[in-house]
Every structure is written in structure tokens, then in C-alpha cells.
Amino acid sequence: MTISREDIEKVAVLARIRLDEEQIPALENDLGNILSLVDQLSAADTDNVEPLAHPLDAVQRLRADQVTETNQREAFQAIAPATEDGLYLVPRVIE
């Protein structure tokens, strides 16, 4: 199994991870090897097999629609890289 340079670049954009040019050959090799390992799956006969998402086949638990959490904005924002007036700061998005 091989993965192309274009595929890696596309996936890196989707994953929001900047890649430097010199990292790509090693990634082609490593990801290609991992995908080859994974390709063993294609040999398995899975016709009529239900996918398993949770080992106990549990479903999402529901609860009453009541407020249970208290507001902890100050505590949470105290550990943020940049905040102002109770808002998280990021580089300007709209000019």
C-alpha cells in the first residue's frame, strides 16, 4: 500500500497540522507501512456483520434537562493563552 504525497498534503490540511517539505518522504514511508498493515482487514469476510462501536452495545444515556453545572468561566479562561473581557482571543478573522 502506498500513499501519495498529494494525499498526505491533503490529509495534513484536514488535520490542521503544518508539514515541512522535508517531513514528507518519511511520512510517505511510515504511513504507507501503517496502511499496508491495516490492509489485512480487506481479507476478512464481514458480509452481514454489524459494526461494533461500543463493546457493550450501550446507547447514549439521557438525563433530565436540568442545569447541573455552575458557571466557571473565570477558572477556565485563567488557563487560556489569550483572553479579553471574558472572550477567547484569536487572530483577526474579519477585516
Binding site: I3, D7, I8, K10, V11, A12, L14, A15, R16, I17, R18, L19, L27, D30, L31, N33, I34, L35, L37, V38, D39, Q40, L41, S42, A44, T46, V49, E50, P51, L52, A53, H54, P55, L56, A58, Q60, R61, R63, Q72, A75, F76, A78, I79, A80, P81, A82, Y88, V90, P91, R92, V93
Partner: protein
Amino acid sequence: MHNKSVAELSRELESGKISSVELTREFLDRIKAEDGPYNSFITVTEEQAMADAKAADEQRAAGKAGVWTGVPFAHKDIFCTNGVATTAGSKMLANFVPPYDATITANFRAAGAVCVGKTNMDEFAMGSSNESSFFGPVTNPWGLSNGQKRVPGGSSGGSAAAIAARLVPAATATDTGGSIRQPAALCGVTGLKPTYGRVSRYGMIAFASSLDQGGTMARTAEDNALMLNVMAGFDPKDSTCVDRAVPDYTATLNEPLKGLRIGLPKEYFSDQLNPAMEQQVRNAVKEYEKLGATVKEVSLPHAKLAIAAYYVIAPAEASANLSRFDGVRYGYRCENPQDLNDLYTRTRAEGFGGEVKRRILVGTYALSAGYFDAYYLKAQKVRRLIQQDFINAFKEADVLMSPVSPSPAFVQGEKINDPVTMYLEDIFTIAVNLAGVPAMSVPAGFVDGLPVGLQIIGNYFEEARLLNAAHQFQQVTDWHQKLPQ
């Protein structure tokens, strides 16, 4: 005191032979003096530990002490601790001080246990050698006397090494594909991965949410039972946590094993297994026969596909879970971002290490348009087949036994540059996570002076049976008492 188990230390505290302040001081001093070559701790919480020890002594004086009151232990640095750095072994969280406790952190706090620090781990629990930590590799206390720096296993390598070096009597750990059992085996300690959902994951930094499970590590099975008594149980804050009664795991430790049906999965005694390791595991099984157990071969025909299924499911879930690290709300942020995309992409490029990035990229690929059915859905179907194998095996056997790892602790650097070779380290442990069943690693001998682990796998929610089987084995063997030179 540092060679005593949690159960023994608890009795010493109860008898008044030693105070928690004295005991905590002793372990803190040991960490300071001995941990240099192992690097098993990321953070040592000396001040907080001494304050907690003092409070524990006061609690005891007031006649309100429980089993854990005043007993020192450590948390894997993946469990959030209010006011104490929680890094997950990553540069991304190197400065992260959570404003809340994980549920199991709160449980140990309520039990009066004294946390002396946070143990080192592979970055975001991704690794089998503890070499991917931003805070440097952990070195196995075993094998150092030969001048060789060997891996402690991973990802809970810090917890395992700290217990092996007698720096703490017990430590929490987590297991997504073998991260409790493999380091426990490689360091000669006893570890338990409970049934998926048995222990709350709230405040446990997520890697692969359908596989992750918090668990226990200590020298003895009895101590693992004492830990699980504190950790197991329903938590409304974790939507996958199971609402089911929790037994007293110490109550059944002394049940006789007569009539216990042991299954040996033939796929786990393959040619990938080091022959000397196989001999040790078979010797351990013979001990069980002496204790009255019966042994038969069973089959897990799809086990050979476990690694392939895991390396789709785990990276896919990791890519989703780790999308939260964006440099906005907490954790690392790159310098001088030019725009929002630059902030995201450079923060993540600089904050994550190589293995974490590889897995995010593989996971993103497997989930991307056009590939979802071929990879993620296919892997989930194979996961069902693997689960069915275990369900069938447990019709014929009460527990399954196998090696934990294919070979003993390897030398640092040996596998780190070849991800796939590293992944094969978990060949005997990963299927357990896919099925969601509980499993232990129990010290069962040595090969070339390095510890060998016996894996004991149980049916869903049969942790008590596993602990019973491990405890009885430890009454007739002393592998778990051996000390690294």
C-alpha cells in the same frame, strides 16, 4: 517501609507504627534520591503531598480512617488533578493546570490517599516504550545493572517503573491497546485493565474513546483490588461509564481455584513468541493446574486481525479527540500567529510529537471522504468478529491465559524508528481492548534477568475472578516480590 504493599502500609498506619507524614516523607525522599536514572515522574507534588499526609493523620486521630487514608501513591499524568500540572506527556499540555479533578482523582482524594506526583507516559498514551514522552524516555529499573537502558513499556511506563523501583507502592494507569499490561509485564509489577466502562473516564485525557480504560498498577493483586475498590463505579459525567453494582474486590481474593477452567488461545502461542517466554508462561499455567485448575486449548480465530483493526479505530478516534488542541482555550499556542489557520496548523505542528502526528494523519485519512467505509466501518465489523471470538471462548473457559508481550523489555532506541515494529509489541494485548473485556498482567518469571508477564483475560465484569486468580498465584510464587538490582 518502601518494600511494603499498600495492604501492609495500611496496617502499619492503622497500628500507629508510622504516621502518614513519615511514610510520605520516605517515599518523597526516595523519589528525589532514586528517580534520576528512571525519569518515571513528570511532576512531584511534595508540598501538597505533605499537607495531605498531615490531614490524613488528623483524620486517623479522629477515628475516621479507611484503608487508603494516608497511603502514598501516584497518578499517571493523564488524569486531571485540580491545580497540579497534567501534561499527558505532551508539549501541547506542558503548561496545562486543570481547574478540576478527574473522577478517579476525586475518588482517591475522598479515600484519603496521598498523591506524591504524576508519572511519565508516552505522549497522549500513544506508544509501547515510553520513548515518545516530551519529558524524555523512562528507563526500566530492570536490566540497568548490565549497563543497558531498556524500555519500561508503554504507555503507562512511568507508573510501572516507579512501582518496580519502589518509589511508590501503587499508581493509576490507562490501557487503550495494552498500556497497563505491557509495561506491568516489562517491569515485573501487577496491573489490571478493567472492563470497558467499569471505571470513569471523566477527566482522563482522551486518546481513543471506544477503547480507553483507566485501571490499576501495584506489586500485588491484593493492592490492585484495593485500588479498583476506589476507582470502579458509575459516573454520570462519563456517558460510557456502566451503571452496575461494584463488588468488594478484596472479598473473593481467597476463593479456592479448584475447578477453574483455563483456556489457552492457540493464536497467542505462535512463532512470534520468544520460546523462553513461552516456557515461563507454560510453567505459570502448571502452577494453576497444581491449584486445581483445568486447562484446554481454545481459539480466537480473528485475533490476528486485531492490530490491523486497532490501527484504524484508535487513530480515527484519536484524530477526532485531539482536534480539541487548537491553541485557543488551553495548552500550547505558537508564537505570533499570522491568521487563524496559521494559529491552528503551527500550534499543532509544534505542540504534537512525531508519533501523535502520524496517528492523527492516519486517522484523518481513514475517516476522510471516500475511505470511511473501507477503513473505519470495515474495522468496526472486524471488531465485532473479534468480540464474538471472546464470547465463544468464554463458553468453554472461565479465564484465558497467554503471554503479555512477545519478548521481554527491549533496549531503548531499538524500535522507535519503525512504527509498525513497535505496534507489533501489542500483538497479544490489543484484541482485549477491541472486545472490551478485562485483563491482568501478573509477574510470572524471568528471561535473561528480565521480567515476564502472564496475561489473564476474563469475561465482562469478571475483575473479581481475575484478581482472585492472580492473588492465589501470588500465594504460591514470589515473582512479584523480586527486586531489580
